[in-house]
Symmetry: C2
Amino acid sequence: MKTYDWRLAPNPRRVRMFLAEKGLDVPLEEVGTEACGSSPSSSRASTPYATAPTLELDDGTCISEAMAICRYFEDLHPEPRLMGRYAKDKAVVEMWERRAYEGPMFAITEMLRNTHAAFVQRGLPGIAEPIEQVAGVVERGRGRLRRFSASSDKQLGKSRFMAGDAFSVADITAFCALDFLARLLETPVAPEHVHLRRWFGEVAKRPSVPASA
Amino acid sequence: MKTYDWRLAPNPRRVRMFLAEKGLDVPLEEVGTEACGSSPSSSRASTPYATAPTLELDDGTCISEAMAICRYFEDLHPEPRLMGRYAKDKAVVEMWERRAYEGPMFAITEMLRNTHAAFVQRGLPGIAEPIEQVAGVVERGRGRLRRFSASSDKQLGKSRFMAGDAFSVADITAFCALDFLARLLETPVAPEHVHLRRWFGEVAKRPSVPASA
């Protein structure tokens, strides 16, 4: 078993942080430096979009999509729970995880991949075919970030973590995206979002953060 | 308990089809006709993006995001399993569901919302703020559809359903998107994708299809 990884990118970091929170050690193979996250030819055949992260099981099954990989380990190693325990909190975790993904994580794709010279013809992740950059979505990405920041700030005024009192994979997705925005796109959490800033500082102190950095 | 619904849209249909497959009956409140899917003011306060579908529980908790709603019912009513039974098939289902969502379901958003007059300043779902249309992403949407069609056609040459031998929520997301593309955007499954066409015809015969139409 191993995971094809891209150290620099925010999306694969979600899996590393998840594994660190679970205390699991899965071999990583860095593939990102080859061509902005494309996988090596061995895995390219089995993963149609050739994206990192991809988990390759011992029977050859390849699982791509960060949350699908996390789901696999949540099922095999349930504790500590990172995807909820009961029906309602499972749903609330999934709701906030998807909001974080379509909020700041998509914002990164829209803001970075559609302008930066390293991503010419790579406007979306994957290497199946050239994908033109569309500069018009950069502002859309900023809007995604703005809306998520406002709604999660409101939520974090009521609860310790994104999906309630327990740390979850929703915090992992949100943190990995917001940390990347702060460090590499010079877009830190805005000062007026005091609850989001409180949460960000608290999550940043978890051992899984340097372990996955 | 009730679900805020938008009958015409492909995304809320996923929840209706999921409930029909489970044999569950949840009251629906149609909100889509008001303003292209915006929720009424009662639910708007509790759902920051005011999107349909949103599940309102009897304790007032509002769950948005179609897959979060499905996760809730999968946990309470596990049979028939629509999100996998064991670790590996749970992961494979989630991988294909997310691919279907970011493939043809996103393609609809990109192709329809960024050109149609009904969606001026509504380039993404939700009513939190005006979102400009970006015509440049229409071609991007077509590419998402093309790549998903090619990769799922290959997959369906090997298995009966998207994620293996069992019907799952991955089939629901893919079907709801591809059926909308065929019927309302005049973009049917391409003739060369023979396996995808075989699958589409087979899923179309399930009782949950007319029940959710």
